[in-house]
Subunit: 199 residues, 2 copies
Amino acid sequence: MPTLLITSSPSLQQHLQAALDRELEVYDSLSALAEQPQRCAQGVVWVDADNQDEALLGRLCRGDFGHARVIVLSSTPSDRQAVQWLGAGAAGFLNAFSQPETLRQVSAVVAADGIWVGVGLMQQLCARFGQVARTDSPLLEQLTEREREVVGHLREGKSNKQIARDMDISERTVKAHLTAIFGKLGVPDRVQLLLKLSS
Amino acid sequence: MPTLLITSSPSLQQHLQAALDRELEVYDSLSALAEQPQRCAQGVVWVDADNQDEALLGRLCRGDFGHARVIVLSSTPSDRQAVQWLGAGAAGFLNAFSQPETLRQVSAVVAADGIWVGVGLMQQLCARFGQVARTDSPLLEQLTEREREVVGHLREGKSNKQIARDMDISERTVKAHLTAIFGKLGVPDRVQLLLKLSS
DNA sequence: ACGCGTACTGCCCTTTAGTACAACTCCCTT
DNA sequence: AAGGGAGTTGTACTAAAGGGCAGTACGCGT
């Protein structure tokens, strides 16, 4: 399993090589690597994001060039960048000049098919996710079983007619359920309901 | 730094003990541990979530019983559970009977104050974050200026009549813009458009 | 001058959404 | 037995959404 490094910075190359104590296959830019996709079909690729083509890096993370595990490095890391690359499918995001011990840790985690992310960011992400999950369930608790089913279909964007077909009841009954749902949740129509559920 | 394990399953105890090759302090249930909170004031606590009190586990993750690092195990893991516990403050979530190598990896990461999470879940979290943080979708690039304005109003859940008032044009023109928008984005109606934009 | 894209609007039409009012059947609790 | 919630459906209505057809107007490049 080869370990690749994409950077145009000699100092970063030296830093990473010293930390990992392993043979690195170094490429100057992603475009150079893109021409031989078989090199990154597997293994781990460390990418210095500072001077790389964002679109190309995004494709690499998404797996367009194989199933490589991508670790994105930045000398000026931010939460925005972290979300961008981890969301695209990167396996790690951290400061390019992190402590050697941290780099080794990241390397081990990623090699074991895990992903590496800073504690602060993780808390932010969970808070954001939890925010949605929290407002989601209590809202639907006041609905009956059948009404929740209707909401489920509604979230797929189905029409009343389609919901009626899928639930094997009349369209009139679907409307009855909807009227009850709108009343309980305090919304005027299906559009507002969807917005309330996804906010 | 003690390592605790909360489970009522002998096979899980054996599995983890063998993988970590370390002395484990085993408790049958969380309620047994809750009576002596000083035991989990620090260190790492592995908890088998399968047969535990959810409320109690939530409090443990949130730090009600000290600042222990909590790793939640499940023999039937799901993203929903992962979000639930990581969101509550757990340091890791994984299959109870993961490979010994993975378990050791998780142990190392958590001991180093990191968080362990699967790649798929990470992408979901980032997507959810982006949903809130992102203001403009690449989908909207193919729309004209005026059409993007209409979409903006649409995302507020406004009716055509209201949009017409706000943009100071006729309702018919709003419909004309909408027809163009639906065509370009390949959706049949406003509901599907909203779903597409928020996915 | 001509074509083209964008914006805007009218009339008229069909379909969909939503509600008011009125029933009926089950099932569960009192 | 009586009441009530949940689920179901009908008729009839209003309002909203969506689109076809037709026309006007403005700016921009050839």
